[in-house]
Amino acid sequence: MTVLAAEPLLTPVYEYPKSLTHVPTHYCPGCTHGVAHRLIAEVIDEMGIRQDTIGVASVGCSVFSYRYFATDFAQAAHGRAPAMATGVKRANPDKIVFTYQGDGDLASIGAAEILHAAVRGENFTVFFLNNAIYGMTGGQMAPTTLAGQKTSSSPDGRDPATTGAPLRMSELLAQVDGAAYVVRRSLHDVVQIRRAKKAIRRALEVQRQGLGFSMVELLSSCPTNWGLEPTAALAFIRDEMVPVFPLGDFKLPAEPAAAAGAAAGTGARA
């Protein structure tokens, strides 16, 4: 009988993040919330900050995100996560605080709270999942819904003449002096997912350095409410959403001279 060597046969290259719980998620098949959760959890693991991190969940599909992250968590009222996070962070200035919000929560009912958190330069990080629709309530029109996009509350397609055009929150918030880091990424393919993870890392580093408000907008899929197969939903992000919500860096912290020139839209915040 062959005795196997005591050392591991395989070197683990991919593990379950310690910052995720083992609770099965409620997200629909093909939804990218799970991808976003995993990326955030991986970064928290890599930075070694799980025990120093406090999340603030919002209302919408991500209402249960507190179940899936193995960190302290608060559950905010609809749209109020940035205000609640302000209280959490001001009371815990040495901790890492993040909100996890969808587009109905952040861009509609919570528009004032997100704007003024940025204005004050609140030193926490916002993960903004934009899937251009209200998911939890069953697919109603959001401020981010594309022109012509059919939803249960815009059954003939969103008419910009009466309901406005998609609201670009990253571009809006990048205008605010208190915002240190505002970028938009997408979760529609592997390359974009890897870029998204780098942005998540950068945002939390910005917070750790005390540079001010940081936000990573992540274009996400909602196959269920879009009425698309999961792969078609990813294509919808790429083909329909990205042209309206261009990917890029809208605000970056001022770099030391040697590292300058990383991207356009630099806004200083000492």
């Binding site: 559950q75 609640m84 209280g87 009371a91």
Partner: protein
């Protein structure tokens, strides 16, 4: 400890500082703004948190966040601003975080005016926000009580993990009186349930969601049991000249203060009136009121509104004696003589009027 001349709004704000408030969030609104201004200077001076929020909606949610982090925290506002806080207060009740809210009431409804009123009684005492919840409600009647009840509010909030409201009015906020402030207390420790990072412990969650109906029902049972404990332990009231009273006046806050002057006036005429002043509006002094209703001929409720607490008085008295109401609205404070007239009318109707006003009894 020395007596200082203090404005009510400054007095309660400084009392909060002395009680160990670590984080204040607020929004300017008359007639409480001096409290916000005091905190803007005092809190940073002590290395504590002061944030002027973008709205009362944001302010109460910042309080929610700081409370979830386990520090003593508060906001203050006035009626229209407090209306905007109802959502946050319901969430805070639903997640059992302690905090203090001061409502310096003004005339309503709507934008109303900036004059003193008591029109938020039902909103604050009965809920205001959605769902079955209670807040401890304390009603000061002078600047010293603005101080003492603010300190008590923080202690009760922590003890029961509940929002405690100081329900004042514009006159209490704006008036200056001699009062004594307590010494500066040390800051409280963060409770075990607070969000401080899961270092050497399991993760903590502050949440008001219980999707499973049975689970939510059990949580509500827990809240109701806690409320019953508060009702058993935290009733506060003042009895004033009630020993021989035949007419009982029931009033809180500024209205009670004016009523005392009226009672002195009618007593000089021989009308045996006295005052029951609820200090805790929830829990309500039901036993004291019921006992009073057993021994007086009539009750008169005086409020600076169109009749709100009177609903509670009638509920508790259950028809034992006539309950009359006298109120002024519009931000008008009742004059002592108006209240005295109301007492005389109630006394006469109940056969407890001044000797010369009573019908002569036939020789028995």
């Amino acid at each position: 400890m020395s007596i200082e001349l203090l404005k009510g709004n400054v007095a309660f704000a400084e009392a909060a500082v002395r009680a160990g408030c670590e984080a204040y969030f607020g929004y300017p609104i008359t007639p409480q703004t001096e409290a916000l201004e005091h905190m803007a200077r005092r809190m940073p001076e002590l290395g504590r948190v002061f944030v002027q929020a973008e709205s009362e909606v944001a302010a109460i949610n910042m309080v929610y966040g700081a409370a979830a982090a386990g520090v003593r925290t508060m906001t203050s506002s006035s009626s229209p601003g407090v209306s905007l806080m109802m959502e946050g207060l319901s969430y805070m009740a639903g997640s059992e975080v302690p905090a203090v809210l001061v409502d310096v009431m003004r005339g309503g409804p709507g934008l109303g005016n900036i004059a003193p009123a008591q029109g938020d009684y039902l909103q604050i005492v009965k809920g205001g926000g959605h769902g079955d919840y209670k807040m401890i409600v304390l009603a000061p009647a002078n600047v010293q009580e603005m101080i003492d009840l603010t300190v008590l509010a923080f202690d009760l909030a922590d003890r029961y993990r509940i929002v405690t409201v100081l329900l004042a009015d514009g006159s209490l906020g704006q008036m200056m009186e001699g009062a004594t402030l307590p010494p500066l207390r040390p800051l409280t420790e963060r409770p075990a349930w607070a969000l401080t990072g899961a270092r050497e412990r399991d993760t903590n969650l502050v949440s008001s969601i219980h999707l499973d109906p049975e689970e939510l029902a059990r949580f509500n049972d827990h809240l109701q049991a806690k409320y019953a404990e508060i009702e058993a332990n935290e009733v506060r009231f003042e009895e004033h000249r009630l020993d021989d009273a035949r007419v009982g006046v029931v009033a809180f806050g500024t209205a009670a203060r004016v009523a005392k002057t009226a009672i002195a006036a009618v007593r000089d005429e021989g009308v045996a009136a006295g005052l029951l002043r609820p200090i805790s509006l929830w829990p309500y002094p039901e036993a004291a009121l019921r006992a009073l209703a057993e021994r007086v001929d009539a009750l008169l409720v005086v409020e600076m509104n169109a009749g709100q607490m009177v609903e509670d008085v009638r509920r508790v008295v259950e028809g034992r004696v006539p309950v009359r109401f006298f109120g002024r609205t519009g931000g008008i404070m009742p004059m002592p003589e108006e209240i005295a007239d109301a007492i005389r009318e109630v006394a006469d109707a109940a056969g407890a009027g001044a000797p010369e006003a009573q019908p002569q009894e036939v020789n028995a």
